[in-house]
């Protein structure tokens, strides 16, 4: 049992941190980036590809790097620290994850190679990982005639959908045969983009007899794989949220040390320092569960991963509410402004949470399983 990064992981963290700092040295650069299309920095996306970050989760034979969950978690955490709007979770972790999980060898080699190289942006459409209908694909239906497949229906929100070249769509199979996953060229669907509360981009996607290619074996029910990739995405989203919260706790303590009122710095007031201490407690506890959940992925048991996703999701959701709210409160008015990172971080935490699974969702799933075990085992 070991909760520390090895030297290579530390080097990866420094490299990603360094690269992100060139684009998002301050919150202003993030504000400028999200204000313009496509809502993230294409040049940075290209450099992430060159560094191997976009190919991190995929095997070398498909053009990736073949790194493990801990490495992907490190990247997500760094993205979170600077509130990076790049669609890493949506494109690489979620949509890329679906391709890697269910695609045919040819599909994987084609799509994952180009995704890793930064030549292709993917988005996952059809369901949000965190809704109760996570693997049900209620909004989009697939039809087949001969071996030509088409899709109908609406998927919304599709995070990163506006800039995607190819949509990876989960849809209900004909005759209640379960859930399929399909590839749709973005031109074959009507994509209407919008900004979420944190100014990252999502889209409403309408399919109207849109041409679709089955991902993997046509007609197979892929519900279990879809759910597992949603769980993995949840855990990586929790890593990203941790990065946001780390920055918020740091910004808040710095602010308490520098902001003066009544002729003294705010850290003179114990009412405030105690609240900062409680924020730190929430951050440490959430870090422990997210690290644990990330390591659980390596074990490869999909039920264990589902459980870990719920546990990390709930913990991070609670911590995000606590830290996100207190970060604004302890900053006072400045925390409310769009030009200041702290409050935007709180918006980002909510977007991650509502997209990937909020506290209510995970608590309800965990509650259903409460009588399945005597104790929750931390170490197997």
């Amino acid at each position: 049992m070991d909760f520390t990064y090895d030297d290579e992981q530390l080097a990866l963290r420094e490299a990603v941190r360094g690269l992100l700092a060139t684009t998002y040295a301050d919150h202003d650069s993030r504000r400028r980036t999200v204000a313009e299309d496509p809502g993230f920095d294409r040049a940075l996306w290209g450099r992430l590809a060159e560094m191997g970050v976009l190919g991190l989760p995929f095997s070398e034979e498909h053009g990736g790097v073949g790194a493990g969950p801990v490495e992907i978690g490190i990247v997500c955490r760094e993205l979170g620290r600077v509130l990076a709007p790049e669609p890493y979770l949506a494109s690489v972790v979620h949509a890329g994850g679906l391709v890697a999980a269910v695609g045919t060898p040819a599909q994987k080699a084609d799509l994952l190679g180009r995704l890793s190289a930064g030549e292709l942006v993917l988005a996952a459409a059809g369901t949000a990982p965190g809704t109760g209908r996570a693997s049900g694909a209620a909004g989009v239906r697939a039809s087949v005639s001969g071996d030509a497949w088409t899709l109908d229906g609406v998927a919304d929100p599709v995070v990163g959908g506006e800039s995607a070249d190819v949509l990876v769509v989960t849809a209900a199979l004909p005759d209640d045969a379960g859930t399929g996953v399909f590839l749709v060229e973005s031109g074959a669907a009507a994509v209407t983009g919008y900004a979420a509360a944190d100014l990252t981009r999502a889209a409403s996607v309408r399919f109207d007899a849109s041409d679709a290619t089955p991902l993997g074996e046509p007609g197979r029910d892929l519900r279990a794989s879809v759910a597992t990739i949603a769980d993995l995405t949840r855990i990586m989203g929790a890593n990203q949220a941790l990065g946001v919260m780390e920055s918020q706790v740091r910004a808040t303590t710095d602010y308490l040390k520098s902001r003066k009122q009544f002729g003294v710095t705010l850290n003179t007031f114990q009412a405030l320092t105690f609240r900062a201490a409680d924020m730190y407690v929430s951050l440490e506890l959430a870090t422990s569960v997210v690290d644990w959940a990330t390591m659980t992925i390596a074990g490869g048991d999909r039920h264990a991963v589902a459980d870990a996703a719920d546990r990390a999701g709930l913990q991070v959701s609670r911590a995000g509410r606590h830290i996100g709210q207190e970060a604004i409160q302890l900053h006072g008015g400045i925390g409310m402004t769009a030009e200041y990172a702290v409050g935007v971080g709180t918006a980002h935490l909510e977007v991650l949470d509502q997209w990937l699974g909020n506290g209510l969702h995970h608590l309800s799933r965990l509650s259903a399983r409460v009588t399945d075990h005597d104790l929750v085992e931390a170490l197997s």
Binding site: M1, D2, Q270, Y280, V281, E284, A298, V370
Partner: protein, 383 residues
């Protein structure tokens, strides 16, 4: 980063689990698991079983019965013990005065006290707090004045846990009123049968007799019972309280208590609100346990990980939260708190209100939770 225990640690855990569940009497373990009070004899018996196997004081120096384990092994020992319902070795002996004597005591003190302390042949009490010296412990006033080779002690200690069983008490006393308050404190070991020592019970809100006042009137203490040097008491106290904090986050016991509650109140688990509260507590306890593991894995070199304050703070909050849930699940049955054993109400329900009330102590002692927040905000956040 890796989750699995090494084969060696997994085997170690298995060995502990087997020992605790087979060598310590079932009756004692059931008493703990059901949240009933242990008698003094049960506490002594259990510690002696552990000590005979070399498992009572593994964190002491090897020459005095310690084990030279890794921090992780010590953690596993502690968790498995709680999980099995084995009483933790008496903290005053095993975690407080033992390590102090081993570190600061004279050779004669070590030989005289350490074996008897490990085996609970001597029951120690902790005489630190006074009516006017709580969180601000250094303002204590109980005085010790030199008279020939002896010290003559006058004053009052309070909140002395289980002082009614105490054979000896380790005290902080003021030996020099002239210097800065911390510098004038010394540690004296006092035989509680010495003339002039009086123990008076304090009744707590749960009706129990758990703490006492201890009064000292012209108590004569031989000079060789001062630990370390005169004036070194505050340094020793900080060393001792640092060890105390690590022991007061009873993760395993709280997990066990929640699991037991799921069985005893099984019929109420159909209610989704009850299930949600259990699920939330289980997740919070998981977070706490994993944080404890992170702290253990990082504490190499003896320096406690800064997050150990998190463990005390959160550990006691969760211990209290589980007791709140038990009380809520007991509902009206909890009114039978002081009913006799012929009560038709179940034992766990009858104990739930006193337990809830009793556990309010957890966020007050061992460095109150406000003191823990102070430590976090000052030493970790630099505020």
């Amino acid at each position: 980063m890796q989750l699995e225990l090494s084969a060696e640690d997994a085997a170690f855990r298995e060995e502990m689990r087997t020992f605790f569940t087979t060598e310590v009497s079932q009756q004692i373990r059931d008493t703990v698991l059901e949240g009933r009070h242990l008698t003094k004899d049960q506490i002594v018996e259990s510690q002696q079983v552990l000590n005979a196997a070399g498992l009572a004081v593994p964190h002491w120096p090897v020459e005095w019965g310690g084990k030279d384990w890794t921090d992780l092994q010590r953690h596993l020992w502690h968790e498995e013990m709680q999980r099995a319902g084995v009483p933790i070795p008496l903290a005053f002996n095993a975690s407080m005065i033992g390590p102090v004597i081993a570190q600061f005591g004279s050779q004669a003190q070590k030989e005289r006290f350490l074996p008897a302390t490990a085996n609970l042949d001597i029951w120690w009490s902790q005489g630190f707090s006074e009516p006017d010296a709580g969180s601000d412990l250094a303002s204590l006033r109980t005085s010790a004045v030199r008279d020939g080779d002896d010290w003559v002690v006058n004053g009052q200690k309070t909140w002395t846990t289980l002082g009614q069983h105490g054979d000896w008490i380790f005290t902080l006393v003021r030996t020099d009123p002239e210097v800065k308050k911390q510098a004038g404190i010394s540690m004296l070991l006092i035989d509680m049968t010495t003339p002039g020592v009086e123990v008076r019970p304090i009744e707590l809100i749960d009706g129990g007799h758990e703490v006492n006042e201890v009064w000292f009137s012209d108590v004569r203490v031989p000079g060789d019972l001062l630990v370390g040097e005169p004036g070194q008491g505050w340094t020793i106290a900080k060393f001792l309280l640092g060890n105390e904090r690590v022991g007061v986050a009873p993760v395993g016991a709280t997990k066990r208590a929640l699991a037991t509650l799921k069985t005893t109140a099984a019929d109420q688990l159909d209610d989704p609100l009850v299930r949600a509260r259990v699920a939330e507590l289980e997740n919070d306890l998981l977070a706490l346990e994993l944080t404890a593991l992170r702290v253990v894995a990082h504490s190499a070199g003896g320096e406690p990980h800064p997050a150990s304050s998190v463990l005390k703070l959160r550990g006691t909050e969760l211990q209290q939260a589980v007791s709140e849930l038990a009380l809520d699940l007991a509902g009206p049955a909890s009114l039978a708190a002081r009913a006799g054993d012929d009560s038709p109400q179940e034992g766990w329900a009858r104990r739930s209100a006193p337990t809830y009330l009793n556990l309010r102590k957890a966020s007050i002692y061992g460095g109150s939770n406000e003191v823990q927040r102070q430590i976090i905000s000052r030493t970790i956040l630099g505020l």
